[in-house]
Symmetry: C2
Amino acid sequence: MFTRKGQLTRDRIVAEAAALMFERGVAGTSTEDVQSAAGVSASQIYHYFGDKRSLTRAVIEFQTDAILGFQEPLLARLDDLDALRSWADVIADLQRTNGYHGGCPLGSLASELAETDAAAREALAQGYRRWQHAIRDGLQAMKDRRELRPDADVDVLATTLLTTVQGGLLLAKTLRDGEPLQTALHAVIDHVGSFATDRQPAEGSATSRR
Amino acid sequence: MFTRKGQLTRDRIVAEAAALMFERGVAGTSTEDVQSAAGVSASQIYHYFGDKRSLTRAVIEFQTDAILGFQEPLLARLDDLDALRSWADVIADLQRTNGYHGGCPLGSLASELAETDAAAREALAQGYRRWQHAIRDGLQAMKDRRELRPDADVDVLATTLLTTVQGGLLLAKTLRDGEPLQTALHAVIDHVGSFATDRQPAEGSATSRR
């Protein structure tokens, strides 16, 4: 347990490390870089994290929370396919804003660390599972309201959407172009749409219908 | 231009560098590692490639050729959705054989290099374009035989398939599990199937029908 001030220092170190690792990769980010960005000493990093691997795992959790923090509210409010398209557009817009740099904060860490750091790989796998569940829960809510047919396998559809997001974000940063991300996500949402019933969402907000 | 013997030496260096970079990443592979694996001197590497960046670009071309070398024959022979499923299964089987290690040789390089090496990024983008075209040409042949409806946008479908392969291969290496790759590819092939006509492929091989 850390004091309140200690917790703030720890959070600042993680946020700065996350930004550096997103920009330069984990291998390209030294603990000296993190010290200097966060304005802390080597012994403070050691105090809060022990070593770089443990700091990297904290960055993975930070990035997972960040991704789900902005997506979960959108996913919890899926009322129809348009809401799913809005979720896709938010992801694509964020890439456009970044100039198609950096790709997915989680995917870039996964690609770099999966073969070299077993604990990081497990943390990243956990991050992907949380993300898949958030998407699935949104689709399940649509299914519970009978906006998706009973034969819609929300697990399969959520996995397909997550897979498409990951591939699309990798292609976006490689091509410096969001078109494949946009195109593929909308094609997969069309596929989700093939399971839609004729049931129109009721008037009013999604929340009022729960 | 190199002599025949020179060409063989050059090819051996690229193949060894590709294997090391696939296993350890580009940053984790020194030119000394490549020298020792290929049994060549530093001056030979310099003679053929100049520097590591130029060697890395040769590795990107090598990996693109390898990927398309085993996929193009399958894609050129797409006669129906089952043939597309076989293509997907070949990709998934290869991952299983690898113990879900390494992911996509092109995708892993793309994730590592897109932000740090502009020439590599362009070479990787070119590799992705070639791959998308190979998939699209297979789908276009199906469409020309009226096995896909006129409103099937083969460019969109090819981009969606490539995006799904890339996301699925990243998830496979992170989760050490091929299920998302398999699930997502088959879901996208179902989507392609929604554009299929009732026209059954004729008897005999695809070639005989051209």
